[in-house]
Point group: C2
Chain length 445, copies 2
């Protein structure tokens, strides 16, 4: 804590503050000062008397904490939310890929991503790692809503719905990274899709580019039984092992899912300094399986949480992901204390920051950190009483309790309303849905 | 469908209606007329022109459906919400029972139940089966909030926190049933706690009373591994078998949990005409296990959904229970289509009605049925687009999307606000929480 300045851009007052720092420091009744996109100071309310600010937000005794970080998403897939329910991963992908081929353009990606980012912002997510075609359209969508974004070029072994053959894809990727190195509020990762859609030579080319450009890698790995079979056929080994052999497993790499890992692979992830995005909602819905979070924690692997895309989840709700992370580990191990609530909140905040190389700068309330801050209203009947704030957050709270959201100091949700208008993009998504429904009534997707 | 009358107490207009009848009939743009607590008519909007009503609710294109039915709850335990997290069932019960012994009175039961019923009403639940001490205080709480209630006297083999020795307990039970046979909006069941808190002789006495008074039975059964061990020690058999031997398994009986059942027991439940309240949230949180819903469905057992009490769940959210029911079956079977979304909505509505002997009268929108009706706002980003309404309800919607709630024709939630004031009861619950926190800081619970 540092002393409060005389003035700030924004003051959040009358808050029960969860800093999510190393010691899980709490301030029972405190205030947070935000200036120029960063946290200028935080401390007891009594120490903040007389600070002037252009915007003052009274938390009314609610919780103030770092914004949630969603480390795996395909925001534009809100376009296909619930289009292919009650199917396993391979059938799900078949239906969705057909819909994508017919309807995905930079314009629809932008509209779908705006809708997805709006949903996430309203649910207290201030930063998201997003993997999808036409990432430039996704960057524009994040800027519109005001949410923080980590994204980058997608690599897939066939031409893909963006129509890029491999050499053009490599050139696009390099150019994209160059153009967006300094884009405000945007972090970059190279985003090869998976070991079942890329051969070893192409995975090595991605590794080479990542090293040369000094950009980390985000990739799906060991998600589902069907993937394990495909990778065994194509590579003669497991996803984690082929990713290690091709150099993808390196410090800074973020694996999405990581459900099917043996003990040796878990040790390998720890040794390589790889982080994991745990996606318990989509893992359950698609029958992918239960990730070995207890073993990954024991091995010291950096853990974070993701929602996955809305066409699997089917929403983009990190509160439900927190609760589900607990439930799946408890059921898999028979140990109700296997993943304490406080550690789950840490996965969704500081863990997410560490997973994208922003530890200490995001996912924490501290002077100098990015002003990614959310205010939780504790007044609903379902949050009463509150014996332990972390337990309340994981097992009783939900997106409906998020009252205010600041991302990089910008107020993106005020009193449960988005500050950006999204009517145009919503209409565009509805038009895609109407076209898909009309198509389905004739001859199926 | 019948023709609309000239006037009604309430008209709900511009609705996409899910009737939840046998054929899952939908009305794309319809209206519902409510008079004297019952549904007077429903049909296409065009047929409802000129109907006059004291109250007109414009659903604005949202979904209108039967209210959700929560078939297993201990509403007053909101008093201890999150007090004993991250513990197995036996440790959880030990902590909670100590808190109960110190703080449960008719007054605190009333306050806790008001809070719980308020939460449920806001979340679209119009009827709840509640098992707790001092059921008279619970009846008063339900009347205050306006929610429908099935409750009754609790039977437990030791004196219990209400201080009743067995003979007085039997007398209390009989008197309670006599007094409340005609209480408006209240259904009655006898509520023996479980086979691990009642010996065989006492279970037989409950069966005898149930037969004599013609009142069905609600009981916990086969919830957790610890229960299976205790029942094996005390009765030398399994919960389902001792309940069958003592006559508890009979048509109308409602079993809560029913997680640990072998094939023979599942056949027995079907044969006896017993219904099950599936509680997937508490089953996961307490490491109780995954109920064999697929096998129970195949055997033709009547299935419904419950939240269990807020000290296990930790909230009372049947939307999360619906989603969790799907997730647990999918993971247990590896089959993403094992429990289609439409059938889960049926469990939460018509299934719940069948489980309490109210099939055709509740859990359905039809002329003559009770006017338990909810209006879902479909405008949130997380509900956009909507390809299939049942999939949207199970996998994307939540309590925050419930806009209006009618229970027995009474408007209990209007534009997301309770119509009953609950400030006094909330303050009483907070006072209990303060007392427990103070106690804990001195010498633990």
């Amino acid at each position: 804590m540092t002393g409060f300045p005389n003035s700030a851009d924004t003051m959040i007052t009358n808050a029960r503050i969860l800093t999510m720092d190393d010691a899980f420091t709490e301030i029972p009744t405190g205030a947070v000062a935000i200036t120029a996109g960063r946290i200028a100071a935080l401390g007891p309310q009594a120490a903040a008397t007389g600070v002037t600010a252009a915007t003052v937000v009274d938390a009314r005794g609610g919780l103030v904490m770092p914004g949630l970080i969603n480390t795996h998403c395909h925001a534009a897939m809100t376009l296909f939310r619930g289009l292919a329910d009650d199917r396993p991963l391979d059938g799900f992908l078949k239906t969705v890929w057909a819909a994508e081929a017919a309807h995905v353009t930079p314009e629809t990606v932008n509209a779908g991503a705006v809708l997805g980012f709006a949903e996430m912002a309203l649910g207290g997510i201030t930063h998201v790692v997003d993997m999808y075609f036409h990432p430039g359209a996704t960057i524009a969508a994040a800027a519109k809503v005001g949410i923080g974004l980590t994204t980058g070029p997608v690599f897939i072994g066939f031409d893909g719905i963006d129509g890029l053959p491999w050499p053009e894809r490599l050139a696009f990727a390099e150019d994209f990274v160059t153009r967006h190195r300094d884009t405000q509020g945007v972090g970059l990762m190279l985003m090869p899709h998976s070991a079942y859609t890329l051969d070893a030579a192409k995975l090595r080319e991605v590794t080479e580019m990542a090293e040369r450009l000094a950009i980390p890698v985000h990739i799906h790995a060991a998600e589902a039984p069907s993937e394990m079979r495909l990778v065994a056929e194509q590579h003669g080994t497991t996803p984690a092992r082929i990713l290690n052999q091709t150099g993808i497993l390196a410090p800074g790499t973020l694996l999405a899912h990581a459900v099917h890992l043996d003990d040796e692979e878990i040790a390998l992830l720890a040794e390589c300094g790889v982080a994991v995005s745990h996606n318990p909602l989509s893992n359950a819905k698609l029958a992918s399986g239960t990730a070995r979070i207890k073993a990954l924690r024991a091995a010291g692997v950096t853990l974070s949480l993701g929602t996955d895309g809305a066409s699997s989840g089917n929403d983009l709700d990190l509160w439900k992901a927190m609760r589900q992370a607990a439930f799946l580990q408890i059921l898999a191990t028979g140990e109700p204390d296997v993943l304490p609530a406080r550690d789950i909140v840490a996965m969704a905040t500081r863990g997410g920051a560490a997973a994208i190389g922003q530890g200490g700068r995001k996912g924490i309330l501290a002077p100098g950190a990015d002003a990614d801050v959310i205010v939780i209203d504790l007044s609903a009947p379902h949050l009463t009483p509150c014996y332990d704030p972390y337990s309340t957050l994981v097992y009783a709270a939900g997106r409906e309790d998020v009252r205010h959201v600041f991302a990089g100091g910008r107020r993106i949700v005020a009193d449960r309303e988005l500050t950006a208008p999204i009517g145009e993009e919503t209409a565009r998504v509805q038009a895609v849905a109407r076209a898909l429904n009309a198509h389905e009534s004739h001859d199926g997707i």
